[in-house]
Subunit: 139 residues, 3 copies
Amino acid sequence: MKMYQEIVAIKTSGKCLHKITPQVMTVVKNSGIQTGICSVFILHTSASLIIQENADPDVLADLSNFFSKLVPENGVDYLHSAEGADDMPSHIRSILTSTSENIIIRNGKLLLGTWQGLYLWEHRSRSNLRQVAIHIQGE
Amino acid sequence: MKMYQEIVAIKTSGKCLHKITPQVMTVVKNSGIQTGICSVFILHTSASLIIQENADPDVLADLSNFFSKLVPENGVDYLHSAEGADDMPSHIRSILTSTSENIIIRNGKLLLGTWQGLYLWEHRSRSNLRQVAIHIQGE
Amino acid sequence: MKMYQEIVAIKTSGKCLHKITPQVMTVVKNSGIQTGICSVFILHTSASLIIQENADPDVLADLSNFFSKLVPENGVDYLHSAEGADDMPSHIRSILTSTSENIIIRNGKLLLGTWQGLYLWEHRSRSNLRQVAIHIQGE
């Protein structure tokens, strides 16, 4: 049984869903592991991870739009406002999505459904360099 | 340390919460692993997993009702509508729940609380054959 | 490759976010594992786990406030009401957050971002003794 860890930096440019399946696949290849589990963990509380449809970009637009309405920036009296109107909503949106995703490795590849992609969701308005930690365990 | 993988097909019949604890327990038994971790991963983006109360069916009815109101099918202008009015809400409901659950194995059994059951949540209106991948690691 | 399991009891005093990073760190130390993965799993369906900002307590207050409005106790006709007005909302709030969190271990420590803390979220009004199962795998 082997283990392999890497921390990958992802540059974001404001609120957006960034597909990171290719970066994680590269780490799986680097590990040389054929069968096992890949844990992907974002080291932040105002950006998060989701696994969603990778085909129609309208799905991502609808997701963003839904979350903008569910967790609004304006019209809510957040106590935590010193870091900007987009910060507290970012924390809430992180809670409603995922800090980590755990994907099975089979035949040296991430075992994802045909339509599944792994996305980093940047919830802040400004650009950020986000750290994503990856731990792989297997053989 | 051993590893064991299986992909289980679950037939759904429209929107419903299907308890899949028994199917996953069977895979744990097949693995022969007594201590370890069991990763359950659904290979779809319009159905998801949750761990919830397995006693009172009213809890499941209330959950379904809450999500129907939180993520409505009608009255929202989704861009992604070509696959039916229930498709985009299904993607959003998947995001708000889980694509995978990781359950500890102890004494050859899933370590769940007394009231916890693992459910596959079918969010689409039509029947589907859903693929659930299971990876077990331990001894 | 080693494995280590412990079940930790956490006493809660009504609705609150309890930081449990220190308790989990103690279990990691007990395990002696330097590199690996730590799975934290709450054995209940009316309390849950989140990873969130550990600096400004206002963030936790805003989170609680947001969830109180999103999943109200009153004004909704829940079918499941025999266990109290706070029980069904607790189940829904659990679904919207996490039953388990999986944190990478690096250099004998939980690999968390600077601002990340692990919290047990008690959703019930009364005090409870909550069981949190921890499974660590690594070397």
